[in-house]
Symmetry: C2
């Protein structure tokens, strides 16, 4: 399967790109608004994978081209760029393509971070509203420990919560998630349940900030 | 230390009562609006503990009396009874007493449960607003696996997130939490961060409902 990571030069994009390229045979495309930056990062990822004994081709493209070529498109961009990015790539998406959003809106308050969803109610709902009708929209990969994710030798032992109203798209993304060693995909229901999933992200930041020795956190349901 | 579990006849109250009575030497009081029910449940807990080789005295009282006698008062009542219960017991609380709220407002939606805080912003904030000024208010014990908690032989291996603006009260509650085998207390910051903590409760329900073989869930940050 061909997977495009839009914003694939950021930390979650990097982690997912490296993990899928390392653990699976899926073709990974790195997308960026700046195609030169996308190509540079793709080269970096190839070098990193090669140094770990895994020779994989990783290609970089401007977001629109990456999205057009892929079956699964991950919007690994900051929350305030999600709507623009969906708009930019919508024309290149085909019937049955899958759009995945890992973003969570946050706002810094007096003593911590707070969930700050867009007016749609959640980032996932915003994407579902903006995406073409025949594209499956899935919220997933919100609460990954980005540093550990990008270190393919690090054990994850964490969960990712997946929400979607499209059963096929959800199944595709859950399968892709579980192909990453140490990542378990849990079904959290439909898009209507996205806010509770996305609000774990500020919680992880607050827990990391208030407890010695805890950083780069993920979560495990047990 | 003397701990009162108001609503100590419900499932979270039962679990905390049994665990503290079993694992620690703290004195546990069971509170209920109905003193007869409180005494019956207290007797049940004594029998249960005794059957596991732990002879402990557990006393039952009407909520007001349980709260008046205790240093730490846990509001293990449904969210819609929290405000009434604080009001009922406020006069019996003393300077330095600690009021603990494990409740989370939830509402059932079309395809899952959603966080539904009171207008104060969170149940913890509501309690902080309603409590006497000299009483420390702490949000904790929201996301416990109630069934496992009430089975003192079951391994927990989960976390409880603790929020408070009162450092001494927070420390007291974190210590009490960690005295329960297999329960780790994590500091999630001040009362302003309570909404993100409380909204894990509906998330756990959604995860349990959508994944085979997952029920009675807790959460572990790692």
């Amino acid at each position: 399967m061909r997977i495009a990571l839009l914003g694939g030069t950021g930390d979650i994009g990097e982690g997912l790109a490296l993990r899928w390229a390392y653990h699976t045979d899926h073709e990974v495309l790195v997308g960026s608004r700046d195609p030169e930056k996308a190509r540079e990062k793709a080269d970096e990822y190839e070098t990193e994978l090669s140094s770990r004994g895994r020779d994989r081709k990783v290609n970089g493209f401007v977001n629109e081209m990456a999205a057009e070529r892929a079956k699964v498109v991950v919007l690994a961009v900051p929350p305030y760029h999600v709507a623009d990015t969906v708009e930019a790539v919508a024309d290149g998406l085909e019937d049955g393509d899958v759009l995945v959003t890992p973003a969570a809106g946050m706002k810094r308050g007096d003593d911590g971070f707070h969930y700050h969803p867009p007016s749609a109610g959640s980032v996932t709902r915003l994407v579902a509203d903006a995406a073409p009708d025949d594209v499956g929209v899935v919220g997933a990969f919100h609460n990954l420990a980005a540093g550990r994710l990008a270190n393919v030798d690090a054990e994850l032992g964490i969960d990712t919560l997946v929400v979607s109203d499209d059963p096929d798209a959800k199944e595709t993304v859950m399968r892709l998630a579980e192909e990453i060693d140490g990542l378990r995909a849990l079904d959290a229901g439909g898009v209507g349940n996205a806010a509770e999933v996305e609000s774990v992200t500020p919680l992880l930041v607050n827990v990391a900030q208030n407890n010695d020795g805890m950083h780069d956190l993920g979560v495990r349901f047990q």
